[in-house]
């Protein structure tokens, strides 16, 4: 992509001889003439050149993705996809991930969309590259393509002659735009796709190889620590740098308004300097945080923009028995195990930033704006970090590093956030309130359904500088951008608010709250976690009211065939039976959703045990069924869903960000406890319903909502008490039992 040659498909077709005959000629012409030509699939629609995705040169075959590996394992899955459609061995490929100099702009790695968009682009690009190689071989051999086949990185002629891909590719042969349709392989012939290929990144991670941005050591690198304000909006009133300047290894204090950082030669020197400088500063704080113990009133009391996002009516359906319920979710933390880290270096007029951001391009835009430099003079390179599960401190750390590195030209600056900084400054998953009301008709079916959700935006990700802390804190500060709702069908706070079930009368209202008293942004599954928790808890409550088994009750209201199969699979594998009795102090729960109403389907059955004396809940076992379309790597998919269940269990049983009127008070793992091994279940089984040849459906977040509701339903089944205020802590359960 350096100095791209402006050679489009038409020129290649015109000059490519036999290429014209063999490769989708009609499609090419159709594209020329049709006003609304169909776009190629996945991210090819926005980055259509084949060599943006696949390059074949002296280094071999390289696959490029604009997405960032966050621990989901897609780097391995993409390598499988490319190997399959190119007909090369898995090991002969390498995959390059998000880098503003090298890869396509695929925005953020979020919303369970990597395989759906990037994987689909790679699959189609690989298939089309293979067709181009076949055509080129046909031209050279003066044969028709039908006589040729591909195998292990070469085109094979009927007489056995092999033309290696590397020898067939010349100049800019792959710098052509993708066609809308590709000749994809028949899934029945897959050799690499669908196999549990071991992850490519795991060997380094289990032997101490350099695997993370935290592990990078550039020549001459120095260490920086930021001294963050003690609370939102605090002003730096005093900062005496005299003492810290005398410390060993001291390099520089960088101050710009309320942005304060210290740089030292060695890492622990930087930490000592940070502590010393922190003591030598004074901040003016102002209280502005809401009441943490009454988020229900806080959220429903803030001004909201209300939109009816779904409505349908059928006067013939009349409700007889009505119930109402309100569900709440606190602010929750991403809580990455490794606090955010970034390295920046200003050299040769370019600010290079190595970062574990989910969006190298949007971050580049934010950093360029903050530094007031042109976009091309900033390069962001994704390097893995600790799992992020959404918008954590990664982008802020990248901006911190760039702002500090600007003051130390030529020198690589590594910024590592401290634990307390990640816990108090990351943008949290927003608090939510949902209010549900529904009626049953005389036949035990839902006649009307009302759903209201109150919440902030679920994405304040950068694009502009104002989303980054450094830019907010510097003297010429950038204002936090106006929050915007994420449009449906994916939605943000209203993600999965529209039920997948069919109800004759239904109304769903999204109360979007622009004011954000607590810093918030995207956290895994966004609003879907709480909306599904609410809907699926309420479905079980309604099933009880109707006197119908909860699984049967769901099936009674669901037309979606794939959804029904997922529910039936989870129920069967769990051994779910109508009217079943659990052991004393144990209960069974069930929940289902299709993530975003357009991604993977997931149903989860669970068994929870309650310690009657303490109220402590323990997940004993969970069985999940998932349909994410064509499966690329079944073990990777299982790993994602297992992880989703356990993480969601941690959110659901334990987690809430705490604060007083001024400061965040959950500052570490003592004050923000999460799942530990004593609460790990005996067993989690994940069953995949594979859909050969069907589109990839995102699955990284599909488990979060169903897991939460399944657990809540199991707690209700075990205790006879319905809890609707997250998290379902030991104390709340104990109080409910004793009430």
């Amino acid at each position: 992509m350096n100095g791209p040659v402006n050679l489009d498909r038409r020129q290649v077709l015109a000059g490519g001889g036999a290429l014209v005959v063999s490769f989708s000629l009609s499609d090419a012409f159709a594209q020329d003439h049709a006003a609304a030509a169909p776009k190629p699939p996945g991210s090819l629609a926005t980055s259509p050149y084949l060599d943006a995705w696949i390059r074949i040169d002296a280094d071999g075959i390289t696959v490029f993705t604009g997405k960032a590996e966050l621990g989901q394992g897609f780097k391995t899955a993409f390598q499988q996809i490319a190997a399959e459609e190119l007909d090369v061995s898995f090991a002969s490929l390498k995959v390059i991930t998000a880098d503003t100099l090298l890869t396509a702009d695929e925005g953020y790695t979020s919303g369970s969309q990597s395989t759906q968009y990037s994987g689909t682009a790679i699959q189609n690009a690989a298939a089309q590259v293979r067709e181009l190689l076949l055509a080129e071989a046909a031209r050279r051999l003066n044969m028709t393509v039908e006589n040729l086949r591909t195998e292990n990185g070469a085109v094979i002629a009927p007489d056995g002659q092999r033309l290696a891909y590397g020898d067939l590719v010349a100049d800019n042969m792959l710098h052509v735009q993708a066609q809308p349709k590709s000749k994809l392989k028949n899934p029945a012939t897959y050799k690499v796709m669908g196999q549990p290929v071991p992850r490519v990144d795991i060997p380094a991670k289990v032997t101490g190889g350099a695997a993370y941005v935290q592990d990078m050591r550039l020549p001459g690198m120095v260490h920086a620590r930021v001294i963050r304000p003690p609370s939102y909006g605090a002003q730096l009133t005093e900062c005496d740098t005299a003492a810290v300047e005398k410390l060993p290894g001291f390099v520089k204090v960088v101050r710009d308004g309320n942005f304060l950082a210290v740089v030292a030669r060695k890492e622990f020197q930087a930490i000592k300097a940070m502590k010393a400088l922190s003591k030598a500063t004074k901040w003016k704080e102002k209280p502005g945080l809401p009441r943490q113990d009454d988020l229900l009133s806080v959220l429903t009391g803030l001004k909201s923009k209300d939109t009816t996002i779904f409505q349908q009516s059928d006067a013939s359906a009349v409700g007889q028995k009505t119930i109402e319920a309100t569900f709440t979710r606190p602010y929750q933390a991403h809580g990455s195990i490794g606090p955010s880290c970034a390295i920046a270096q200003l050299a040769d007029g370019t600010m290079k930033v190595w970062t574990h951001t989910q969006g190298v391009y949007p971050d580049r835009q934010g950093i360029a704006e903050m530094l007031k430099v042109p976009l091309p003079s900033v390069r962001l390179i994704h390097v893995e970090g600790s799992g992020c599960y959404g918008h954590n401190g990664a982008d802020d750390a990248a901006a911190d590093a760039a702002l500090i590195a600007r003051e130390l030209p030529g020198i690589p600056v590594r910024v590592q956030w401290m634990r307390e900084q990640e816990h108090t400054w990351e943008p949290f998953g927003p608090a939510m309130v949902t209010r549900l009301k529904a009626s049953l008709d005389g036949n035990g079916k839902i006649a009307d359904w009302n759903f209201d959700v109150w919440t902030n935006t679920h994405s304040m990700r950068p694009g502009g500088a104002g989303s980054m802390l450094a830019a907010q804190h510097m003297a010429e500060s950038f204002a936090v951008p106006e929050p915007q709702p994420i449009p449906l069908p994916a939605g943000g706070g209203d993600r999965n608010a529209i039920p997948i079930y069919k109800f004759p009368n239904a109304k769903v209202v999204h109360h979007f709250i622009p004011e954000m008293p607590v810093r918030v942004s995207a956290m895994r599954a966004l609003g879907a976690y709480h909306n599904i928790f609410s809907i699926e808890s309420f479905m079980t409550e309604l099933a009880e009211l109707a006197g119908v088994d909860p699984v049967e009750f769901r099936l009674n209201h669901l037309e979606d065939k794939r959804g029904r199969e997922v529910i039936e699979k989870a129920a069967k594998e769990f051994g779910w039976q109508k009217g079943q009795k659990a052991l004393p102090d144990r209960g069974y729960g069930f929940a289902f959703a299709r993530y975003k109403s357009l991604a993977a389907y997931c149903a989860i059955a669970s068994e929870v045990e309650i310690n009657h004396e303490t109220g402590r809940p323990r997940l004993v076992r969970a069985v999940a069924a998932v349909d994410s379309g064509q499966v690329v790597n079944p073990d990777g998919l299982i790993n994602q869903v297992e992880g989703a269940i356990l993480q969601s269990m941690s959110w659901t049983f334990y987690e809430a960000v705490t604060f007083d009127d001024t400061r965040i008070t959950s500052t570490d793992w003592q004050t923000y406890p999460i799942l530990r091994f004593d609460a790990v279940p005996d067993k989690i089984d994940v069953h995949i319903i594979n859909r050969p040849g069907m589109p990839f459906l995102g699955s990284g977040e599909t488990g979060q909502g169903p897991a939460a509701a399944s657990l809540a339903n199991a707690v209700a089944s075990a205790t006879g008490r319905r809890l609707r205020d997250l998290p379902l802590t030991r104390k709340k359960i104990k109080d409910a039992i004793d009430a």
Binding site: P198, G208, K266, I337, G338, P339, S386
Partner: protein, 165 residues
């Protein structure tokens, strides 16, 4: 200068005596495995083995390590010649982001060195110190069981590669 024995080799370390072992390993010795997670001894990402015991390197100053032997994940084996614990974690694909995994492995290794046949309850109890955020716990438990089995097998065939103890 402090002399520190890491993975069987003596190193002369030029760092203040109050420097936590974690920074010595990562910065002076350029070892990647031990990770900074909290610096407070709460998460276990920095776990290494000192004289056979699992130790939180982020809260263990250099001055306490005189005459002691430090083992990190790098000292157990390599990609080519993995130790049983490393083989087990690869075979079970026991990682998502993997950031906590090196610490998990060192704590498990310390357990298996003193108890080669731990029960599931003993493993869970031992691993209680270490946090994982991706929810890889089921695989971690399976990998520790597998490592115990592999170590047992390795003891029967002493020349087996990677049986680093």
């Amino acid at each position: 200068m402090t002399t520190l024995k890491v993975n069987g080799h003596d190193h002369e370390i030029d760092a203040d005596p109050d420097t936590p072992l974690l920074y010595v390993l990562r910065e002076e010795l350029k070892l990647n495995a031990a990770k900074f997670g909290c610096g407070l001894g709460q998460c276990g990402a920095c776990t290494v083995i000192v004289d056979g015991k699992a130790v939180l390197s982020c809260v263990t100053p250099l001055l306490l390590l005189k005459g002691k032997e430090v083992t990190t994940l790098e000292g157990l084996g390599t990609v080519e010649k993995p130790a049983p614990i490393q083989r087990a974690f690869m075979e079970e694909q026991a990682a998502q982001c993997g950031y906590c995994i090196a610490g998990m492995m060192m704590r498990a290794q310390a357990l298996l060195q003193r108890n080669s046949k731990p029960t599931d309850a003993q493993i869970r109890s031992e691993m209680q110190t270490n946090l994982c955020r991706c929810g890889t716990h089921m695989r971690i438990l399976r990998a520790v069981h597998r490592a115990a089995h592999l170590m047992d097998t390795a003891e029967l065939t002493p020349n087996r590669e990677g049986s680093a103890q």
